[in-house]
Amino acid sequence: MQVSINGEIRQLVDGCTVRQMLEELQIKATRVAVELNLEIVPKADFAERTLQDGDKIEIVHFVGGG
């Protein structure tokens, strides 16, 4: 299936969850917020939430420096 991640088109395997997507991108789940079609996905749901073809995903890192 095809999804948009941070505005870029990416291919993911069917049934891919938010957690699997982050693992594939080598992103630590605790260091980001994930928005799926404009809605925040609670961290507790990362493992169960499956992605669908056409989903728009935004991954935003915590940036704590100043």
Binding site: N6, R31, E35, E58, H61, F62, G64, G66
Partner: protein
């Protein structure tokens, strides 16, 4: 009424119909609090003082160190070891003697921050920890004070403006503070010195726009900046009904 000196100092503002004498007077009558006199706070303070903001509070409990000077441009080699608020005030006062500078040389916490933010029209979060960013968000939301979030690390930065009760807050997007073992990696690392100059200046621009009442504020979207790719990206942010900070408003 602006004085003759003010008319000359701010002439390039006064030539802008969007600002004009009324906008300049609004800036002069305004109060902005900058929390953190470091990488983000330095450029923000310099530009806000130059722009004619009448009163600026600067809160920071740290002292100037040599390793700060690669990016914290309000300080310099002659103020090493001084309190950052005093070092910044010296430079800022020279830039614009009319600006009233309020030095707050303490680390802010849950107890002293609510009454402090109440005294200002707009707050800039220029702190360097995630705990501080969450605290400033929660307190500004509960006190109804508009603020600008800013964060930087390595080559990337982000900023968003929050109008409590009107627009989504920082917690609507980020929900909870990451576990302690993950925080340091998001807070402490190398920083290209110019990066906070970009983000801090954007935060100052939001403060000026808010005070003068012009343009479109950076609300309901987080602006992220990738310096190496030289790309800005906007992440739309919606009010999160379950947000523990603003969700029940």
């Amino acid at each position: 009424m602006l004085t003759a000196e003010e008319q000359e100092r701010y002439s390039r503002h006064l030539m802008l119909p969007e600002v004009g004498p009324e906008g300049q007077e609004r800036l002069r009558d305004s109060r902005v609090l900058i929390i953190g006199a470091g990488g983000l706070g330095s450029p923000a303070a310099l530009y806000l003082v130059a722009a004619g903001v009448g009163t600026i509070g600067i809160a920071d409990g740290d002292r100037v160190e040599l390793s700060n000077l690669q990016r914290q441009v309000v300080h310099d080699s002659t103020t090493l070891g001084q309190l950052k608020v005093a070092s910044a005030a010296k430079r800022l006062q020279a830039l614009n003697p009319a600006c009233r500078l309020e030095q707050i040389p303490v680390m802010l916490d849950q107890n002293n921050l609510p009454s402090l933010v109440q005294r200002y029209d707009f707050v800039l979060d220029a702190t360097d920890t995630l705990a501080a960013k969450f605290m400033i968000n929660d307190i500004c939301v509960s006190q109804g004070i508009p603020f600008s979030h800013g964060g930087i690390l390595r080559f990337s930065g982000q900023t968003m403006t929050v109008l409590p009760g009107v627009s989504p807050c920082y917690r609507c997007l980020f929900a909870e503070l990451p576990p302690e073992e993950d925080r340091e990696a998001c807070e402490r690392d190398g920083v290209l010195g110019i990066l906070p100059g970009v983000i801090g200046t954007l935060q100052a621009a939001e403060a000026v726009k808010f005070i003068v009442g012009i343009g479109t504020l950076l609300t309901s979207r987080l602006l992220t900046f990738d310096l190496l790719g030289m790309r800005f990206r906007e992440v739309p942010v919606a009010v999160n009904p379950g947000c523990s900070s603003c969700g029940n408003r």
